[in-house]
Amino acid sequence: MNRFLHGLTMPERRKLFLEDPEKAMSALSEDEKAMVRRLDWKAMQDYGASFFCLEKLARTRGVSNPEMVAAFRGETLEEFLKTRRVPGAR
């Protein structure tokens, strides 16, 4: 899983993932593919994905770090931002 995520630092892998995600994920197990399809950050984290590898997937899919942190906390982004001093700084 981490190897797949890390591969998204390569433009050609990113392009393939965005155009044909199933082909790009062919080395992953069915459970792993399902987590990536759902962008289930908490499930991927609990499964053992490195936060820093998850960041590569987040950037590829246009997801911000506050969104990921909110997911780890079991909150929506809006709920999480209410706990921050400067919610616009993202």
């Binding site: 433009p11 942190v69 919610p87």
Partner: protein, 276 residues
């Protein structure tokens, strides 16, 4: 001989670089951050160091878990900007100082710090997100960098005491370089933040303020703490501030903090401090 003229401690949050790239200097949500770096940028402009020795970490970008070095020193004449999933930032490649790097590698290994050496690898935001707020990147960087990459993301991490001792050895190594060079140390990371687990979103401003005080006046006390102490007090990922101890170890014990800025807008406390 080469001379260490001062040091900088700074956060390296990727959003600092993103805010810079999006031109948010005057955005009220970001202004307190940018303003905090103005004094540092002015100091660099006035003192004109030839080289910044940058202690930072890679974020599973250039290095991967198939081989994560504890301490790795770059020895290239140039380093490209890494692609972290959005394409490389549009800033010039970093200019290295191969001769100084190689001298440092030899001197440290002679001093029994058996670090890894790398070349021709791209560098990620750990180095250049804070750099863009301190050094002009247009038309090109005004000086060179020597990158020291520290593993703070995959257990087992180096001990804080080892980082401090490495800083002392690094200081000696730099100051034994025969050419007249002005060198500034940079230690990056932190301050308090935790990105993962149930405590994701954790910060502790009291601990951050204590850290900013101790790094100036009693770094030995910080060096006596364990990595786990740093994680407990500053968050899992906040423990990366042990890289400031490398910078501090290379400075004179009597070095004084002449500027500090602290801003905690979102998930990571963003700090910058200047030592002379």
């Amino acid at each position: 001989m080469a001379r260490i003229i001062g040091g900088i401690g700074t956060s390296h949050v990727p959003t600092i670089g993103m805010a810079f790239d999006k031109g948010k200097r005057e955005d009220p949500d970001w202004k307190p951050l940018f303003q905090g770096y103005e004094r540092v940028a002015r100091w660099l402009e006035e003192k004109r160091p030839d080289v910044l020795v940058f202690c930072f970490n890679d974020h599973a970008t250039t290095f991967f878990f198939d081989h994560y070095p504890t301490f790795a020193l770059g020895v290239s004449e140039q380093y490209s900007i890494a692609d972290e999933g959005l394409g490389p930032r549009r800033i010039p490649p970093l200019k290295g100082h191969a001769a100084l790097s190689r001298h440092i590698a030899r001197a440290l290994i002679e001093d029994e710090f058996d670090l890894s050496v790398f070349q021709d690898l791209p560098l990620d935001h750990g180095l250049h997100s804070p750099l863009t707020l301190m050094w002009p990147s247009k038309p090109d960087w005004p000086g060179r960098v020597v990158p020291l990459v520290v593993n703070v993301i995959q257990q087992p991490l180096p001990r804080p005491s080892r980082c401090f001792a490495l800083g002392r050895a690094l200081g000696k190594a730099i100051e034994s370089y025969p050419e007249d060079l002005k060198v500034a140390m940079v230690g990056t990371g932190g301050l308090s933040h935790q990105m993962i687990g149930e405590r994701a979103g954790f910060n502790d401003e009291r601990w951050d303020r204590e850290f900013l005080d101790l790094i100036e006046r009693d770094p030995e006390r910080l060096a006596r703490m364990s990595v786990e102490d740093f994680m407990r007090r500053g968050g899992n990922e906040g423990a990366e501030v042990i890289m400031w101890l490398i910078m501090r170890g290379a400075l004179a014990p009597a070095a004084r903090k002449i500027h500090q800025n602290y801003y905690l807008p979102m998930t990571t406390a963003m700090a910058v401090a200047l030592f002379e």
